[in-house]
C-alpha cells in the first residue's frame, strides 16, 4: 500500500501496466472514503427529500394513494381551522421562536459576560449553568410539569411569596406558550458556553487601547465587545432558530398541543398528521412547507448579517 519503498525505480516507457500517480491515488482514496457519507446522504437525505416532495401531491395513507395535484397545499393554507391548523401551528411556533431566542440569547450572553471577568470558580459555574442542557427532554418535561402544577407547583408558591395570585401556566391559552418559553430559558447555558468562548477570544489589547483613549465601560462594550462578538451571535442566532422551530418533545409530553391548540407546535402537528392520522401525503406537504419556511428564515438572517456582523478582516481592510 505504501508508495513503492524498496521497489525498483520506474523509468519512463518500460512500465508495462499503467500505474497511478500519487495525486491520482489520493483522489481515488478520497472519493472512496467520503463515498460512505455520500451514500448515506443519498439514501437518508436527498432521496427522501425528493420522495417527500412527490408524496405531497398525493392523498396517501399506508394502504393506497391517489394523485391530487396541489390540493394538499390548498387545504394546508386554508384559514378554516376545521380543515387545517397550519396557520395556528405556525403562529404558535413563531411565537415560541420570537420570544425564546432573544431571551435565551440575552440571558446566555449576560451570564457569559459575568463569567468572563475571571471570577473565581468559573469552571464550577460553567458546569452548573450548562447542566440542564445535557438532560433528556422527556425527563425535563416531567420535572417542569411538576414545577408548573397549578395547585401544588413550586412556581405558584414562589408567586404567593410576593403576594401574587397563582398562574394557570400550562392550563390556560394565555399562559401556556409563555410557560414553555420560560422553561426553555433553563437551557440557556448552551449559549453561554459558546458566548464565553467568543468573549475569551477578543484580544485584550483592544480594551487596553480603548481605555487609554478614554472609553468607559459602556462604550467599550458597544464598540468592542458587541462588534467582535457579532460573528458568534450570528452563528448562535442561526443554529438556535433552526433548532427552536423543531421544538417537539416538550409539547408532546407536557401539553399534547393543548389547551385549545395553543401549544400545537409545527412539528407536533406534523407528527400527529403523519403518525396518528396517517395522512402521509398531506403531512409531506406540511413538511416541505416547513423546510421552505426554515430555509427562508435562515436566508433572511444571512442577508441581514451584512448590516450587523463584523469580521476582523473587514476591520483590517478599512484601516488599510
Amino acid at each position: 500500500m505504501g508508495p513503492g519503498i524498496g521497489r525498483p525505480a520506474r523509468t519512463g516507457p518500460v512500465v508495462l501496466r499503467p500505474r497511478l500517480t500519487q495525486a491520482q491515488r489520493e483522489e481515488l482514496w478520497g472519493w472512496a472514503l467520503v463515498s460512505l457519507w455520500v451514500v448515506g446522504f443519498l439514501i437518508f437525505t436527498l432521496g427522501p427529500m425528493a420522495v417527500s416532495l412527490g408524496l405531497s401531491f398525493f392523498d396517501t395513507d399506508l394502504l393506497r394513494s391517489r394523485f391530487v395535484g396541489l390540493s394538499n397545499y390548498t387545504t394546508l393554507f386554508s384559514f378554516d381551522e376545521t380543515r387545517s391548523l397550519f396557520w395556528k401551528a405556525l403562529y404558535n411556533t413563531a411565537y415560541y421562536v420570537i420570544f425564546s431566542i432573544p431571551l435565551g440569547m440575552s440571558l446566555g450572553f449576560f451570564i457569559a459576560v459575568l463569567l468572563n471577568q475571571n471570577v473565581r470558580g468559573q469552571t464550577a459555574y460553567r458546569i452548573i449553568y450548562y447542566l440542564p442542557s445535557v438532560l433528556p427532554a422527556v425527563a425535563v418535561s416531567l420535572l417542569w410539569l411538576w414545577l408548573f402544577d397549578v395547585r401544588f407547583g413550586i412556581l405558584n408558591w414562589v408567586l404567593s411569596l410576593f403576594g401574587l395570585p397563582g398562574l394557570p401556566w400550562l392550563y390556560d391559552t394565555r399562559t401556556a406558550k409563555p410557560a414553555l418559553i420560560l422553561m426553555s430559558l433553563w437551557g440557556s447555558g448552551g449559549n453561554m458556553l459558546i458566548f464565553l468562548a467568543g468573549l475569551q477570544g477578543i484580544p485584550t489589547q483592544l480594551y487596553e487601547a480603548a481605555t487609554i483613549d478614554g472609553a468607559g465601560a459602556w462604550r467599550r462594550f458597544t464598540h468592542i465587545t458587541l462588534p467582535m462578538m457579532s460573528p458568534t451571535l450570528f452563528f448562535v442566532l442561526v443554529t438556535d432558530t433552526i433548532y427552536a422551530f423543531q421544538v417537539f418533545a416538550t409539547t408532546y409530553v407536557m401539553t399534547q398541543g393543548g389547551p385549545a391548540n395553543s401549544t400545537l407546535m409545527y412539528v407536533l402537528y406534523l407528527y400527529t398528521l403523519a403518525f396518528r392520522q396517517f395522512k402521509m401525503g398531506y403531512a409531506s406537504a406540511l413538511a416541505w412547507v416547513f423546510f421552505v419556511i426554515i430555509m427562508g428564515v435562515t436566508v433572511l438572517i444571512f442577508r441581514s448579517s451584512d448590516a450587523w456582523v463584523y469580521y476582523e478582516t473587514e476591520i483590517g481592510g478599512r484601516r488599510a
Partner: protein, 292 residues
C-alpha cells in the same frame, strides 16, 4: 474595570472601590443564577423521596422527613414490565450508535482533512449544509422506506443511519485532524505507510480526546432521543427509557414522586458522562455548536 468619573474620592481609591463593588455584584448575580438553575433538580430529588402527604404540603417542605426510599421501588415497578428492560434498551441503542459513530465519522473526516480530491470543498460545504436541514423533511419517506424494509418495531432505523456518518461529527473531527502536524504524515509516508496506514497509525491514536467526546455526545444524543423511538418502536418491551417516561405521563399523571424518580434515573447517565468528561465536553460544544 469600570472607568470612574467620580470626583468625591481620590481617583485611585474610588476606582478600587468600584472594582470591588463590581466583583461583589458579579458574584451575587452568579450565585443567585446558579441557585435558580439547580433548584428544579433539587426539587426533583426532594419530591422523589417524599411521603405522599408532604408532596402537597403548603408551604413546601424542603427536606423530606423521613426519606421514603420505597418510592424508588414503587416507581420502577409501576410499569407492566420490569423497569430494567427500558434501561437496557436505551443502553443498547446508545452503545450501538457510539459504535456506528466511531466506525463511520473518523474515516470520512480524515478524507476531508487530509486527502486532496476534486470536489472535496464542495462536498464539505454540502456536509455543513445538512447540519441546517430540519430532520422532519425526510421523516415521512424514511418511515415508509423502513416500513417497506420491515424495520418498524426494530432498532434498525435508530442505528443503521448512524453508520453513514453525521455532519456534526464529521465537522468536529475534521477540525481536530487539521490540527495534527502534517510532518507526522510525511514521516509515516517515508516509513512506508499508505493512506490507511497514516489514518490508523498517526491520526487515530492522536485523536483519542476528540473520539472520546464524539462517543459521549453520541451516547447522550441517542439516550435522550425521543422522536425517533416514538415513531419506530411500538411494542412496550422495546421502549427506550424516553418513550417509557412519556407513557408514564399519560397513565399516572399525578404520581409526582414516582414521576420524579424515573426522571431522575433517566437523567443519571447523561449527567454522569458530563461530569466525567466536562472539560472536553465543553471544548466539543464550542467547536461544533451542538448544545445538547
Amino acid at each position: 474595570m469600570i472607568g470612574s468619573r467620580t470626583h468625591l474620592l481620590s481617583p485611585l481609591r474610588s476606582k478600587r472601590l468600584m472594582i470591588r463593588l463590581q466583583h461583589a455584584v458579579t458574584h451575587c448575580l452568579l450565585i443567585v443564577g446558579a441557585i435558580l438553575v439547580l433548584f428544579p433538580l433539587f426539587w426533583m430529588l426532594s419530591t422523589s423521596l417524599k411521603p405522599p402527604t408532604q408532596i402537597k404540603a403548603f408551604p413546601p417542605i424542603w427536606i423530606p422527613k423521613p426519606f421514603v426510599w420505597s418510592n424508588y421501588v414503587r416507581a420502577v415497578t409501576i410499569f407492566p414490565i420490569p423497569f430494567y428492560v427500558f434501561v437496557a434498551n436505551s443502553t443498547y441503542i446508545s452503545l450501538l450508535n457510539v459504535v456506528a459513530a466511531l466506525v463511520s465519522n473518523p474515516i470520512i473526516a480524515y478524507a476531508f482533512a487530509r486527502l486532496r480530491f476534486r470536489g472535496s470543498r464542495t462536498l464539505f460545504y454540502l456536509v455543513l449544509a445538512t447540519m441546517m436541514l430540519p430532520g422532519q423533511v425526510t421523516m415521512i419517506p424514511l418511515f415508509l422506506l423502513f416500513r417497506a424494509l420491515r424495520w418498524v418495531n426494530t432498532y434498525n432505523p435508530l442505528i443503521i443511519p448512524s453508520f453513514f456518518g453525521n455532519a456534526y461529527f464529521v465537522f468536529l473531527l475534521r477540525q481536530f485532524f487539521s490540527t495534527i502536524p502534517h510532518e507526522l504524515d510525511d514521516a509515516a509516508k517515508i516509513d512506508g505507510c499508505g493512506v490507511l496506514g497514516i489514518f490508523f497509525r498517526i491520526i487515530l491514536p492522536l485523536s483519542k480526546p476528540a473520539l472520546g467526546i464524539m462517543a459521549i455526545f453520541t451516547f447522550t444524543g441517542a439516550w435522550n432521543d425521543f422522536m425517533g423511538p416514538l415513531i419506530y418502536v411500538s411494542e412496550m418491551k422495546m421502549y427506550p427509557l424516553s418513550v417509557a417516561l412519556s407513557f408514564l405521563r399519560g397513565t399516572y399523571r399525578v404520581l409526582w414522586s414516582e414521576l420524579m424518580v424515573v426522571s431522575f434515573i433517566a437523567m443519571l447517565p447523561p449527567v454522569a458522562l458530563f461530569f466525567i468528561a466536562q472539560r472536553s465536553y465543553i471544548q466539543g460544544i464550542v467547536v461544533t455548536g451542538i448544545k445538547g
